[in-house]
Symmetry: D2
Subunit: 358 residues, 4 copies
Amino acid sequence: MSSVIGKNIRLSVFGESHGEAIGCVIDGLPSGIKLDMDFINAEMARRAPGRHKTSTPRKEADSPHILSGVLNGVTTGAPLAMMIENTNTKSGDYKDILTVPRPSHSDYPAYVKFGGNNDIRGGGHFSARLTAPLVFAGAIAKQILADKGITIGTHILQVGSVCDTPFDKIAVTADELTALSKKQFAVVDSAAEDKMCAEIEKYKKDLNSVGGIIECAAVGLEVGLGGNIFDTVEGRLSQILFGIPAVKGVQFGLGFGFAASGAKDVNDGYEIKDGKVALTSNNNGGVLGGMTNGAPLVLSVAIKPTPSIAAPQNSVNLQTMQNTTLEIKGRHDPCILPRAVPVVESAVALGILDIIME
Amino acid sequence: MSSVIGKNIRLSVFGESHGEAIGCVIDGLPSGIKLDMDFINAEMARRAPGRHKTSTPRKEADSPHILSGVLNGVTTGAPLAMMIENTNTKSGDYKDILTVPRPSHSDYPAYVKFGGNNDIRGGGHFSARLTAPLVFAGAIAKQILADKGITIGTHILQVGSVCDTPFDKIAVTADELTALSKKQFAVVDSAAEDKMCAEIEKYKKDLNSVGGIIECAAVGLEVGLGGNIFDTVEGRLSQILFGIPAVKGVQFGLGFGFAASGAKDVNDGYEIKDGKVALTSNNNGGVLGGMTNGAPLVLSVAIKPTPSIAAPQNSVNLQTMQNTTLEIKGRHDPCILPRAVPVVESAVALGILDIIME
Amino acid sequence: MSSVIGKNIRLSVFGESHGEAIGCVIDGLPSGIKLDMDFINAEMARRAPGRHKTSTPRKEADSPHILSGVLNGVTTGAPLAMMIENTNTKSGDYKDILTVPRPSHSDYPAYVKFGGNNDIRGGGHFSARLTAPLVFAGAIAKQILADKGITIGTHILQVGSVCDTPFDKIAVTADELTALSKKQFAVVDSAAEDKMCAEIEKYKKDLNSVGGIIECAAVGLEVGLGGNIFDTVEGRLSQILFGIPAVKGVQFGLGFGFAASGAKDVNDGYEIKDGKVALTSNNNGGVLGGMTNGAPLVLSVAIKPTPSIAAPQNSVNLQTMQNTTLEIKGRHDPCILPRAVPVVESAVALGILDIIME
Amino acid sequence: MSSVIGKNIRLSVFGESHGEAIGCVIDGLPSGIKLDMDFINAEMARRAPGRHKTSTPRKEADSPHILSGVLNGVTTGAPLAMMIENTNTKSGDYKDILTVPRPSHSDYPAYVKFGGNNDIRGGGHFSARLTAPLVFAGAIAKQILADKGITIGTHILQVGSVCDTPFDKIAVTADELTALSKKQFAVVDSAAEDKMCAEIEKYKKDLNSVGGIIECAAVGLEVGLGGNIFDTVEGRLSQILFGIPAVKGVQFGLGFGFAASGAKDVNDGYEIKDGKVALTSNNNGGVLGGMTNGAPLVLSVAIKPTPSIAAPQNSVNLQTMQNTTLEIKGRHDPCILPRAVPVVESAVALGILDIIME
């Protein structure tokens, strides 16, 4: 059971959806970083609900409150603790008992694992709300990476049956990536936005939700980052990415597209360009032998449809051990992809920062 | 740079393809395990080359030699060190200089990372030969897991355009999984073997190689294994799986198939079955909130085509910094999937053992 | 740079002496523990200043505020975050510049390490105030250990030239240890208290401070805890103990007393007692080969005199690079031993809990 | 149970005293280090038995055999595996049963921990013979540190009632430290050698053994190494040092000598010297707040008398559960200090290397 990650930058995430506060401690940050709070808050806003018409109108106060590790806006080198108060919690002393686990949520295995002691209100510690501290830490990571010439950008590659234009894996630029982070609905091809919104609306009307794929790229990475067998860029990033609720797959470059390919078509050759070694294609997504190879790092993650839907679902009553039907109340995002974009980006930023600090 | 993995069972892998020996140290094994050396050797043989007509006829002596941690065939609780001598190494003192990196291999980033000091003969420490110690460790893990009622099985799901029947994610049984490990060419549908072999032969004749997908399942896992945010079953297994050369994607359950799905169709409901909570479907591949949910664990990994092909490829001469063309000599597997099956299975076994030892 | 410790129970400590808050995140706690808040608060009070006549009359509000991981007083299995607000901080935006480092404090190396960005007010993150979260975590650990029949007790063995009666290493009992934790001034021999207080008073009048030794014992430990070469009970406890400011030595059993001893006199023999294997003496302090041997665990730590004294001391001005003399203002403990007792005990409790959770 | 240590340089030690081989894997070494095998072998010889008249005349072949990670004498950046064959093992298949545990050895707790499965021949994995791989790794660490201007030296400070001249903590030089490593019997004051040898002889004649203290110093360390609360230089070195059999205490600077001291006498002041900040004394042993402060790092460790003595001792028969008397046969070192000197030095070297590689 661990909500701690990282070797050089250790992120410890805490909190429950309806507890008093959520937050994190970031241990190992370099001293002397002047935090760009406007940027951090803008990043937090990218993840916050209610920003786009496809999102639930719930309002969460995701204002990060720094408790330590920063003096006059500059990191001190001591652990940076941050807290976000949960303003929507009720003060009453009560204990919900899990009776009917929501399908495809953590409810049931958490109930078994924690003997029924876990906080189930809103998903507790397993709530997607816990990605807010990850975005906070990721914003700081992105700021540090930017100073080193590394830029990360992310877009919605697919929602249901609608696809955006994928990154040009070998030619994607820092400018394109930066532009994406300023879009409310991050797609490369503006025309994709309307189509995706229509797709989401279709599922929503059907009391349904829809999954998708998020693609992320980073440029400016040195050759040779990452490393030996169990220290691969892929493995280290995956461990963080799978910490994001709803992520069910991670692939680099062509990923599963390699299955139907021949080496002749997908091997990435080399050429001398401007006096330097360059790749002629980037099907490997910028990673070879677990190490960066100088081409853009390109990865994508599969996001499952939000499991909370209003339609009736088959479940069981854990107290009576009878079959039952569950209808989940409340407003839920019919598609989590738009809000997951900065979360995936933050996970990648944090992982890269940890790797380059070797 | 690390070839060490695991929290409770720490596996440290060493060796180079053409060095004196490869091997591993397994630290944290329980004492009192009577090793089934016949089983271990059979597992090593599954990975060894030259066993199937699609494989290269090269012959490697993959005989594991245990140096410590075992007394009269029983684990002592001390670190288990194992060594496989490389019989094909030449004794002469020489130093190859990397001049022309092989496309899509680790050659170029390793050259940059290690300043040209890394052993490049046969890929050195990055060679797929280094998966032999992983299979050795995985065989021990599988033996321990079997004693706990956990069975793991693996098959080739796809090679190029040919697909095998996927596992029935909710109904797959231990018997089916065990049967697979005894097949020389691990497919569920026997008819798939000939088609896949024909596909491989087609690529081989074209001086090409082909990728594919390997699917792995484990049954008998308790509910609630794995855990909180950064301690997910998915993340922990991925970090080991991406340590296997050529793995470019990892997905659980439907994985990337979730992208075009609605929750109504893919949410996994519950029912009471034989007085116990059971799932009615298993699109999540047995993992929810990072924890096992009692359904079979089902995952698949994307394997890229062996990058070593005889056809001429674009590369560069790192000494002269000129473009050049590379033709890779020697016999290479036109498809690594058949031999990768036990490697993927071992990675999963090792990861599960580490998780259940919490 | 890390304020994170532990393999199974991970404690992440944050905060600065004059920052907004100090606190910790405890990751890996079992679920279902009903926290005894009266006990926790009593433990916090043992460490708080101003409780005993030898201590500075400063008043700190050391009231732990739990942010997550506890629901209705019971641990949920999610990370437990705790915060103590620093009530004495000023709101103004300012930045102290370290000009004259205090001798024998962390000031100078921290200044170099953090490039002058560290918070120097009151020692910042290096302040002994940061032991408050350790005592909080230790109190929880002690509660869990008590449920497993493990009792820990601690006393001041020496202050300056005055010594208390050491623990009878082989015969010390849980009752004796428990009794110690209820004493305001923890000594075995009540007569030692007055003598130690007189000794402290003597140093205080001389604008000086004095060091000492704290001895800690734990009973009820199973045989065989801890382990192989780098996983020794001694090593794991030492890493936490040296995290306590002013600790400069750690020894087990006779420790440095072994130097002038012969094996004939100090080897610990065995005998059958009540049908069980028992030790006839305990010079090894309950640890052999890095593992507990069934005898009480007995260790002691050397505590240096509080470096903050009012007498003038030689230092340098880091801005002008001139020699100077420093007189430290304010009230400081002339002897930190009384308050360090629960801190040492907490470190040991936390270490033992981490070890038994293997 | 772990024989793995280190964050940046991971050392995994394996083997049993009478097994086939002992050795280690060093993961994380920089590439491009031309190993000085003469130096490494000389270091191994310092630890080997039979070199000095006080040592047992047993002969062990401690010839390190490098299996991987080195090509043409230069490190490749891949894990360095090393093996030392145990030439004195018998080939027969047998299983000793522990009947009478040797007092003050690991025998009894290991028997309980490993359920009687551990290899007890010669202490198995807990044998002091396992320090040979530590010395091997330490020799490489010392070579790397020397290139960075860091020198480590060690001497026997005390044996029984005989003391050597302690290091001048503030003024000790690299030359003095280097000179020590060339002495067969490492003492600062040559006159101490004869006295110590006489002391050892006295114990030996009495079928007894004697303990002592080893002091180690390192010069050339930058200011600010090590760090925050749980990442102290003291804690990190202690965890390795307590991995050496017979070490029962670790102290820095005055260590336990601080107990009877006042801050006025032991605080280390500052002065400007040659335009730089310097310490006027070094009672803290070069560490403040867990970080190096620019003064020499000075520590000492307590070594207990070799528990293997020929005199009869009280023990129990674990099979019959009766009291019995044990007489240990064979030749054993009456004092392990001379051979422990390079082991302590290696542990410190390895720890420092791990710290400076942050």
